[in-house]
Amino acid sequence: MLPKRLQATDLAYYLLLPLVLAFSLYPFAYAIASSFKQGSALFSSDFWPKSWSAANYVAVFAEQPFGQNLLNSVLVAGGVVLLSLTVSLLAAYALGRVQFRGRGVLMMTILGVSMFPQVAILSGLFELISWLGLYDSLWALVLSDLIFTLPFTVWVLVTFMRELPRELEEAALMDGAGVLTVIFRIFLPLLWPAVAATSLLAFIAAWNEFLFALTFTLSGEQRTVPVAIALISGASSYELPWGNIMAASVIVTVPLIVLVLIFQRQIVSGLTAGAVKG
């Protein structure tokens, strides 16, 4: 069925579409183009480089322990995801499927923690981390990143746990299965899409974390990538090696964009479960 006349909304849509696409995509496209420019080409106003050069990519790894920084980020974000998922699956089962006194208060407390400003506990956390002897170690970051990933994973998993059928659980319990078997053997496989989305969102949050990583690490070898990129410096503050910075930016962002585009459906459902239903 064709509309009789072109609707005003269609007109607006096709007028705005190129604008939105350009505004969303141009900055990263420009970063990619810059990362392949060498020497004075970086300062010319051409969009694409006249001759493509990978020299910036080589320099990023040569001039600082960027490989180590990447590994650090993977270890920290991976560790954070693993820990928060394990702990929060247990809590989500209890909070989502068992009626008990204090449940509402617990949920609100956990939500409260996720809302609070991380910088407000910086000195207390610094003290805790020095006391545990974890200053300038990756464990300090794993521990502190749990502050924002754990409440988030608990809340999202609770909303998904609630929707699972009761019969499955009853049958398993009648057969004498323990509660851990129910959670990890029966529910976990069913929750797979939700767990994937939650893990990815928690991974991204930990991967991007900057404040704790900047404050609790000191040596270049312990830095995660956001800190490494922020601290790339040149001979003077007016001579930042922009080619290297753009190359490093592209390296850490491309995997994220690929993951996000592959899992876009799950991510949208995870985000909305965490925010709208919560």
């Binding site: 939105v20 068992v98 407390t109 000195s123 850490v252 585009l261 925010a275």
Partner: protein, 312 residues
């Protein structure tokens, strides 16, 4: 309630109520690890931060400290007497207000576009997700490069379009730096807003639109009278989330304009006192004030949102 729970389905009885009790005990055991972790890494540090704010502790040696009461707050050299603190408070509040308002307006626009039937829908959604997926530090660096006063592509574009006569110092000029920070934040977070609003739009029942279309109600009127009231609660929730996020803004400002007073946020101020100046006591006092301020704003916002929702 509607959530399926095992206990609710079991008939009452002596033996079963002991089963119920053991199930509730088990629930607490399962929640315990999460609670202990949060208590250790959030509750305890929060309490310690408050305690430190009453002392003159230095970060280099936290144990050598003396109790100074409220001097870090209301003393002559206290946080409340520092004009830079108040500047940071003003910057943060303006930043949150401006960026969240702009994000809501643009987010609503993008959400309506994402909800519009079109063969390019998938492309648009993928494109909109890109700014969201980019780490804040990277987006700050990318924009700093594009806005570079000498070699930046934005100045080159504006100059060749004849919109400006001389290159602008986007991040260095105190009059421009604040607007620049807001612009970059809006670019990065509008997708989040758009996705949440889109989810709300998709929950509006289709027959609402169908009935309005049959009656010949104009599109704009449908939007104002049907769509907007139905999505308002979800938009408010999204705005609360974004406001709390904006009030603790750190990465963007630290990377783009760390030494400019005109953009310093409360979080940047607190970290500067604590880490750069090593003033653990004074910095903790600022941190506590920041915490109280954000808690207060959260409570007001929630009360307001609740009244708004009940009003409809």
């Amino acid at each position: 309630m509607s959530s399926p729970t095992l206990t609710a389905s079991l008939p009452a009885g002596g033996a079963l109520s002991s089963l119920q009790r053991s199930r509730q005990r088990m629930a607490w055991l399962l929640v315990l690890p999460s609670l202990l972790v949060l208590l250790a890494i959030a509750g305890l540090p929060l309490a310690r931060t408050f305690f430190m704010s009453l002392t003159d502790a230095q970060l280099s040696d936290l144990s050598a400290r003396q109790f100074v009461g409220l001097a870090n707050y209301i003393g002559d050299a206290g946080v409340l007497a520092d004009p830079q603190w108040w500047e940071a408070v003003r910057n943060t509040l303006w930043f949150a207000l401006l960026s969240v308002s702009l994000e809501t307006v643009f987010g609503l626009g993008v959400a309506l576009m994402l909800n519009h039937p079109s063969p390019l829908k998938a492309l648009l959604r993928a494109a909109v997700l890109v700014p969201w997926a980019i780490p804040t530090v990277v987006s700050a660096k990318m924009w700093t490069w594009m806005l570079h006063d000498q070699f930046g592509v934005i100045n080159a574009m504006l100059l060749s379009a004849g919109l400006i006569d001389a290159p602008l110092a986007w991040t260095a000029d105190p009059d421009l730096a604040f607007a620049t920070i807001v612009l970059v934040d809006v670019w990065k977070t509008t997708p989040f807003m758009a996705l949440l609003i889109l989810a709300a739009l998709q929950m509006v029942p289709g027959d609402c639109y169908e009935a309005a279309r049959v009656d010949g109600v104009p599109t704009w009127s449908v939007f104002v009278n049907i769509t907007l009231p139905l999505i308002t609660p979800a938009v408010l929730v999204a705005m609360i989330f974004r406001t709390l996020d904006a009030l603790r803004v750190f990465d963007l400002i630290y990377v783009m304009t760390s030494n400019s007073r005109s953009t310093k946020s409360m979080s940047v101020y607190v970290r500067e006192q604590l880490i750069d100046f090593q003033l653990a006591g004074y910095g903790s006092a600022a941190a506590t004030l920041l915490f109280l301020l954000i808690a207060l704003i959260t409570l007001c916002y929630m009360a307001l949102a609740r009244r708004r929702m009940e009003g409809h």
